[in-house]
């Protein structure tokens, strides 16, 4: 294994992106809206494609505007379907985001095929390519750092309101803190974050990083604050661990298994998701294994 400056930048960019996804992800889960993250990260695709077709460039601002419109439209449309059709939220979201995603793939394939916006890049990202730059700090590091900073400031400012509307939306409404507005804000933040994360890690990993670090932290944390910090830690760890897996362990294993010495590396983004999943399951396992012991201690206490 050879570690270069590029590897360092890959880990930093991956960590910053994953951390910026983890913050809104925690509140999506506390709101029991995990599916919304999934839906938004898919549904922003047509927004990005249309913005690209209209503006003819891959500039961040039109892409953001397109993605934002698509993300908010997803939330509004699925909410309407849920209300009128009286179906559960997951089902209405599923209907909306599948349609959006299909339209997005069509647009990207048919209309934008002759230019530099290909479906596989949108799905899996290109972390390794994004950090390649002649000198200085890669652009993707700056964009992910800014996203993380914006998300951190907003979550810190609205921490109280986010927590209250996630815990008890009826009480929030009665106290004059409208939970719908707080949730709409969270939807907008999630849309922005997914777009900013697209370039480096792609839509599949956005879903993983919105949900897995927070889900891991929720297994053992006892306050929303500690869930947020722990999920940031898990996100950063997933990036470092994932990249290590991608350039050393997995290629070595694959070379051995397939008897092919030419396998240099696998997708870092993919391995980040794998690594995050491994952390989740190891903590879940630890929780399951520690249960019986906890029970026996209580028994001793009562005697």
């Amino acid at each position: 294994m050879i570690w270069t400056e590029l590897d360092t930048w890959i880990v930093i960019a991956g960590a910053l992106t994953a951390m910026s996804c983890a913050l809104p992800g925690v509140f999506l889960q506390l709101n029991k809206q995990s599916m919304l993250g999934d839906a938004i990260s898919h549904a922003v695709l047509p927004g990005i494609a249309i913005a690209f077709l209209l503006s003819g460039s891959k500039d961040t601002l039109p892409m953001l505007a397109g993605a934002l419109a698509a993300g908010v439209l997803t939330a509004i449309l699925s909410g309407t379907i849920q209300r009128i059709g009286q179906v559960e939220q997951g089902a209405s979201l599923g209907v909306v985001f599948c349609v959006f995603f299909a339209v997005g793939i069509l647009l990207v394939r048919v209309a934008a095929d002759h230019v530099d916006l290909d479906p596989s890049c949108v799905l899996f990202g290109s972390l390794e390519l994004a950090v390649i730059q002649s000198s200085g700090i890669p652009k993707v590091v700056w964009t992910s750092l800014i996203t993380l900073a914006v998300n951190s400031v907003l979550v810190a400012l609205f921490f109280k309101e986010l927590r209250l509307s996630a815990f008890d939306n009826r009480y929030a409404a009665s106290a004059g803190i409208p939970p719908e507005s707080v949730r709409l804000g969270l939807t907008i933040l999630t849309s922005i974050t997914s777009v900013m994360a697209f370039e480096s890690i792609g839509s599949i990993l956005v879903i993983a990083m919105l949900i897995v670090p927070g889900a891991t932290a929720l297994l053992f944390c006892r306050s929303v604050g500690s869930v947020l910090f722990a999920s940031l830690g898990f996100a950063a760890l997933a990036s470092a661990g994932g990249h290590l897996l991608a350039i050393s362990t997995i290629p070595a294993m694959l070379s051995y298994l397939l008897d092919n010495p030419d396998i240099g590396s696998v997708s870092s983004a993919g391995m980040m998701a794998t690594c995050a999943g491994l952390m989740f399951f190891s903590i879940l396992l630890g929780k399951i294994l520690s249960k019986p012991r906890g029970a026996s201690v209580t028994q001793v206490d009562t005697q």
Binding site: K32, Q86, F158, F167, D168, S174, A175, C221, R222, S223
Partner: protein
């Protein structure tokens, strides 16, 4: 005459195009405790939620202290049903009680130590001082109910709207809630409770509203809780009413 804390006129509420509340008019008297009583599906919780604007009303007038709710939100505290939230949420009892102060703290500002102290005082008022740092999932049902009550108390409101506070709680919690109701009343406050237990209405409350989609009767419990009214409210469930009749006739005179 003073303005009633809560005045509802000809309120109609429908849910999925089915009428749930039909031409409901209620006037809550200040400085008294009122029970909203009726069979399952009578629209008791719906009445509270519609009054607070949590669910839309098809028509009707609702006024709190003579004006709309948004003019006096801090004077009105709501205690939702315990089952309406997820008690596995990662917060402790003090965090939940401090939520009653969020409106006073204001948007974007943090909960400071003075607010935590106020939350602890409210917890002490319901006999839960020792449980401030306890994870809410580790509390019993009755303790969770008291945490909800403490959150409303922390708000220091004048009108308390409580949705089934006595539902499946232990005896200690029942006594704690009753003590709180008494204290609110002594301080000049008003309490409205959705209540399901007919036998305790006369002991716990001053006034009663009998509701079964429309108002059957309202006023002081002695006038309202008559076998005839109850029969009108509970309709076909005559056996239950007959059984209660004997209990009520003994409990009402014993109260005063």
């Amino acid at each position: 005459m003073t303005t009633p804390p809560l005045q509802i006129n000809s309120l109609n509420v429908s849910y999925h195009s089915k009428l749930v509340l039909w031409d409901v008019g209620v006037s809550i008297q200040p400085g008294r405790t009122t029970a909203i009583v009726g069979p399952n599906g009578a629209g008791k919780s719906t009445l509270l939620k519609a009054a607070l604007g949590l669910i839309p009303a098809s028509s009707g007038d609702i006024s709190f202290y003579g004006g709309p709710l948004r003019k006096c939100r801090s004077r009105v505290a709501y205690v939702p049903q315990r089952e309406s939230v997820d008690w596995d949420f990662p917060v402790n009892a003090r965090d939940v009680v401090a939520m009653g102060l969020y409106r006073r703290i204001g948007w974007c500002l943090p909960v400071r130590s003075i607010h935590r102290r106020m939350a602890d005082e409210a917890l002490a008022d319901v006999g839960m001082a020792d449980f401030a740092c306890r994870q809410i999932s580790q509390l019993s049902g009755g303790q969770q109910q008291r945490v909800f009550l403490a959150r409303a108390l922390a708000q220091k409101a004048d009108l308390y709207l409580m949705d089934e506070p006595f539902a499946s709680v232990d005896a200690a919690t029942e006594q704690a809630i009753l003590a709180v109701l008494e204290r609110i009343k002594n301080a000049g406050g008003t309490v409205v409770c959705v209540h399901h237990d007919l036998e305790t209405v006369a002991q716990y409350f001053d006034d009663a509203v009998l509701l079964n989609m429309r108002i059957v009767a309202q006023g002081p419990v002695i006038d309202v809780m008559t076998p005839e009214n109850l029969r009108k409210t509970y309709g076909a469930r005559l056996a239950l009413v007959d059984e209660l009749e004997t209990n009520l006739s003994s409990s009402i005179p014993a109260r005063k």
